[in-house]
Amino acid sequence: MSPLRVAITALVAALLVTPSARAISGALDDVPGAVLLLPYFEVDLDDPNGAETVFTVHNSSAGPILADVLLVTDWGVSTLNFTIFLGPRAVQEISLRDVFLGRFPDIDPVPACPTLGPIAPTTVAGAVTAHRGEATALFGGFCAGHPFADGLLRGFALISFPSQCSSFATAELPAATQGAAAPQGINPEAANVLWGDYVFVERTAGVAVGELLPALEVGFSLVANTASLTTAPLIFPGLFPELPPRIWGIPFSIGDGNTTEVIVLHLPIGGGLLTSIPCGAPPNWFPLGQTELTAFDEDGVGVSLDSFRPFPLVTNRVTAGLFNVSFPVPFNEGWLRADLLLPPFAILSGGGGPPLSFSYAAVLQRSDGRASLQRALALPTPVVD
């Protein structure tokens, strides 16, 4: 039996049968989910000892599964979508350097599912230039990422289950699992089977730091905006992922041999996909802002940094520092309160509507050659905004 057929069979069985532990939607907890966020990656293809990002995906279920990996630039433009196969309880480790060199995890190609087939070298080459912020043949010579001009590939990734390939092969699914709404008898939480971690590797600096991939659970309690769901590499109709928080507490320590880099991923929603644009000018939304950014020192003294926009891209890795003109944190030690709600969506939602944006934040701290990567603290969202 092919991996695809095995995975689909297992998926259906899992959705219909497995009495999984109850998942809680709406809390960014470290539990298996249906969607994993790799919030930021960097890859240096020019230097084998340069920046690299490696992530692993675990299947916590007792059956084999297919999962999709979607790579997206720091302007939020999707470039590559490929499928991985995970046996029962199995793990797949993926080096993004390998991916951008055209070396994908082995899996049987299935004609009906484009993400399962071999990805053309020209597509991979186009993705490389797109993630470098250069003009790319992938989008007709347009640009799809910020032009840092340092050769690094940047972006973020989504890993989701079930795979689109399951949908492509709907003939293999029982009728009960097809249709516009999640059918009765299916346990949506059975899709919460993915967990994993990611690691930034800097060989020349002797640093490798990692943390768990944030996992988003799905459940029936969440209602979808079907207009934009078509952009998601997701899932069966009717199953929707929870949103991460929007307000974060981010520790920092700078000076005296300490540095702090903040990783922020904005995932605004409502509208269409981000698209590539002619090179030479940034997108009209650039730079992204935030609703609030306050730095507190160790004694709790707060200074507003609202007028700065240190996280201008969809995904960012930014060094905090007094002399960083875009992120002038005025203290050596303390924490940041960052409400990453994107202001335009406060308007889109009609002022009194729900916040239509979500985000993720982590912090990479270095001290005397040591480094650590930690998730930021999720702070409660005000009831009235």
């Binding site: 997206v72 929603i269 269409g272 729900p354």
Partner: protein, 419 residues
């Protein structure tokens, strides 16, 4: 009190020159978007009423050795009192102290200061903390305190008895709990359980979810630099957990749920690399009294670990053969808290890489019958990976709770053993 200039900016000021509306949608959309929120009973990193430092090491009287540095913060605009209890690795409390946190304040504590100097590096102050301003450990008792956390008999802290495993080194081990409190106190939840928690958070401890903390365990000689958030345990003042509910401090309060604190998960998954991964396992256990010192019995290097915590199920998934193996060994969770290297003598194994499922409940029903007490089915597991790429320096990736929601009452929801 330090002046606080923090203000919430007017919404209109935030809507500055970002250009046209952002025409994008990446992946997920919600008609009724509900961003992340704190949820009782989940393993989420949110402000909490209790912080658990699951494991610490401090090389005593050795400034070059391992130490553990804590940062604890108050994310609220009003001050917070924190009551901390230091426990041995077998779950015996030794000392407690108070920390006053101003609004949005951060306190940094190097546990080397506590174990070598007998203080926190700063005094507590305000409220009823006045009489406790000089809180700390008398110089004459410091060696005794160190010994209590190294498996030695302790006159001042353990009534001449023992309370920790013996590793045969000069490293103090244990864990610490930090509770949001109504005022400074010398209370100890083991000795004052009826007053420490009272319904609605009106006892010594309260239910304010305002604390945020992390810790770093640093050992230059071992090229260890492990940092991660502490375990954040939320309190629920509104949910009014029913008596009999499993809660974080349930075993100390007869499962009366007066602590209002969510329990931790029972089943955890962690990734490992043979001899390159340390597992940190903290698991709840019944309150333990100091015991008559029996070094041979309680030595961590012996094959006879304390029997009280032998009920753990560990299964290892081999990447290469794609198969699961069950282990009888209770290590790495045979004490209340422990750091164990995968593939070491204490925890021999395994395939080169894989992931480990640890069920801290194990064969509990049988265990309960034979031991005659109730265990609260909770634990916390994390890992330290030593990465060869990084020159041996550690990188931290935590554990995943495989049973994220423990039921408030009734049986566990984990579907059963692996096939």
């Amino acid at each position: 009190m330090a002046s606080v200039r923090y203000r919430v900016a007017a919404a209109c000021r935030r809507l500055s020159s970002s250009g046209s509306l952002l025409p994008l949608a990446i992946a997920f959309a919600m008609l009724s978007a509900t961003p992340g929120r704190a949820v009782i009973g989940t393993n989420d990193l949110v402000p909490a009423a209790t912080l658990l430092l699951p494991y610490f090491e401090v090389a005593v009287d050795n400034p070059q050795g391992v130490t553990t540095i804590i940062r604890i913060r108050n994310v609220d605009a009003t001050p917070a009192v924190v009551h901390a209890v230091v426990w041995t690795d077998l779950g015996v409390p030794t000392v407690n102290f108070n920390i006053l946190l101003d609004s949005f304040q951060t306190r940094k504590i190097d546990l080397r200061d506590l174990f070598d100097e007998g203080n926190l590096g700063f005094p507590a102050f305000g409220g009823n903390c006045g009489s406790l301003a000089e809180q700390g450990i008398a110089p004459a008792s410091i060696a005794d305190f160190q010994g209590a956390h190294r498996g030695r008999a302790s006159t001042d802290f353990l009534s001449g008895r023992c309370g920790a495993l013996i590793y045969g080194d000069r490293i103090a081990r244990g864990y610490i709990t930090f509770d949001s409190a109504n005022d400074c106190s010398t209370s100890n939840i083991v000795e004052d359980s009826s007053t420490y928690f009272q319904n609605g958070g009106v006892g010594v401890a309260n239910n304010r979810n305002v604390l945020w903390g992390d810790y770093s365990m640093i050992d230059e000689s071992q090229m260890l630099a492990h940092s991660e958030p502490m375990v954040h345990v939320e309190a629920s003042a509104e949910d009014d957990l029913p008596s009999g509910a499993r809660t974080f401090y349930g075993q100390f309060i007869g499962f009366s749920s007066t602590d209002d604190r969510e329990p931790l998960a029972q089943t955890w998954g962690v990734r490992y690399f043979h001899q390159l991964t340390d597992i940190i396992c903290w698991r709840d256990q019944p309150a333990r009294e100091p015991f008559v010192c029996e070094p041979a019995k309680f030595a961590a290097t012996q094959s006879n670990p304390p029997p009280i915590l032998s009920n753990v199920v560990v299964s290892v998934h081999d990447h290469e053969s794609n198969s699961d193996t069950y282990l009888d060994s209770p290590v790495p969770c045979d004490s209340t808290t422990r750091r164990t290297t995968v593939g070491s003598e204490a925890f021999p194994a395994f395939p080169k890489t894989g992931w480990i499922r640890i069920d801290t409940d194990g064969d509990l029903p049988v265990f309960q019958q034979t031991q005659g007490f109730v265990v609260s089915h909770q634990g916390f597991v994390s890992v330290i990976h030593r990465n060869q790429t990084s020159g041996g320096r550690s990188l931290a990736t935590g554990g995943v709770a495989l049973d994220p929601v423990l039921p408030i009452a009734g049986s566990l929801t984990w579907p059963g053993e692996l096939p």
